[in-house]
Amino acid sequence: MFILIVGAGRVGSAVAKSALAAGHEVSVLDEDPLSHERLDAGQSKSWEDSGGQFTVGTALETDALIQAGIERADAFIASTAGDNTNLVIAQIAQKRFGVEKSIVRVMDPARADWYGEQGLRTISPTKHAIDMFERALAPDTESEAA
């Protein structure tokens, strides 16, 4: 599978590395050339030597998306720092380039829900965090039992 990841922060770069290790073809687009170092960190070979692709450019630039290979992407991951950027580019991937699987990180739980209903695959880390805090606060039956 050819996977395009836009935004190589902590999440994006980790997913990129594991997807590459799992045998997928991975291309990463980030506006900051320094993000490349995150892809190399802790690896024995550089990102490119391991078979990865890296493009410097902003997510809303159609040319940058094309250069990063969006036209042949099977999956698209929007994991930049901005919810709004992620939601717009994930829709561009889906509607303009027909990428089948468009997955988008949305911090705001309310919009993650609504855009989820509109057909985007949304992932909201905030929702998971809320859930985990709530469980951590609840009377701790599981660990007591253990």
């Binding site: 809303l60 630039e61 159609t62 901005g82 919810d83 709004n84 950027t85 939601l87 717009v88 829709q91 561009i92 509607k95 303009r96 705001d108 309310a110 919009r111 609504w114 509109q118």
Partner: protein
């Protein structure tokens, strides 16, 4: 009319001022605390502090009853999302978005955000209008309807000079709707004769511009832009 304006920068503030002076109800939404506080002195309860891309902020502003949502922040992503949510989630019938970077215009179109207004495009269009070449000026583009209205100046030696309107065999999909001559305009009849120096207004299907220019340009050659 009730209008919600996202972004209290220069554009947002001036729009709010104009609409309020015309007795419309307005809520300005601004996400920068310092900018909000500066606006509050002038607009009082008509400005709210918050990120207009968040649903609860829009709901607090009463988006359910808004007749018009105008997104004029400095971020194109934000403007797209505010309008998208207003239209598709809250079924607001009229939205207007500002395009900051003209290269993002396609994204607005793709996601159905119309009209999307770009200051750069407007100025470019004015430049086109002000530079008197034998080119054509786009007066209006009805994108949904797929029609355009353009203006052309008739060159001295254009092939149509001296021809009756009924004798000019224009391509399918265009029509001369008005002729401006000597400072006043009129709707041409079949026997109206086109003169050099006339400005003709045409309505046409998009994409016919170059073919049309040939009829009114010198020697039938379109001007190079």
């Amino acid at each position: 009319m009730y209008a919600i304006i996202a972004g209290a920068g220069k554009v947002g503030r001036n729009l709010a001022r104009e609409l309020i002076s015309k007795d419309h109800e307005v809520t300005l939404i601004e996400s920068s605390r310092s900018c909000y506080l500066a606006c509050e002195e002038e607009f009082e309860h008509a400005v709210q502090y918050g990120d207009a891309t968040e649903l609860w902020v829009l709901e607090r502003a009463g988006i359910q009853r808004a007749d018009l949502v105008i997104a004029v922040t400095g971020d194109d992503e934000d403007n797209i999302l505010v309008c998208q949510v207003a239209k598709e989630k809250y079924l607001c019938e009229r939205v207007i978005a500002r395009v900051n970077n003209p290269r993002n215009h396609d994204h607005f179109r793709l996601l159905g955000i119309q009209p999307a207004v770009s200051a750069t495009d407007l100025i470019l269009r004015l430049i086109e209008h002000e530079v008197p070449r034998y080119g054509l000026v786009h007066l209006l583009a009805l994108e949904e309807e797929r029609l355009e209205i353009i203006e052309l100046e008739v060159a001295n030696d254009a092939p149509t000079v001296g021809e009756k309107v009924s004798d000019i065999a224009l391509p399918e999909g265009c029509l001369i709707i008005s002729v401006l001559r000597g400072g006043s305009g009129f709707v041409p009849k079949a026997d109206t004769v086109i003169e050099a120096g006339d400005e003709v207004l045409l309505v046409l299907d998009p994409g016919l511009e170059e073919a049309i220019t040939a009829y009114f340009a010198p020697n039938g050659t379109p001007a190079a832009f």
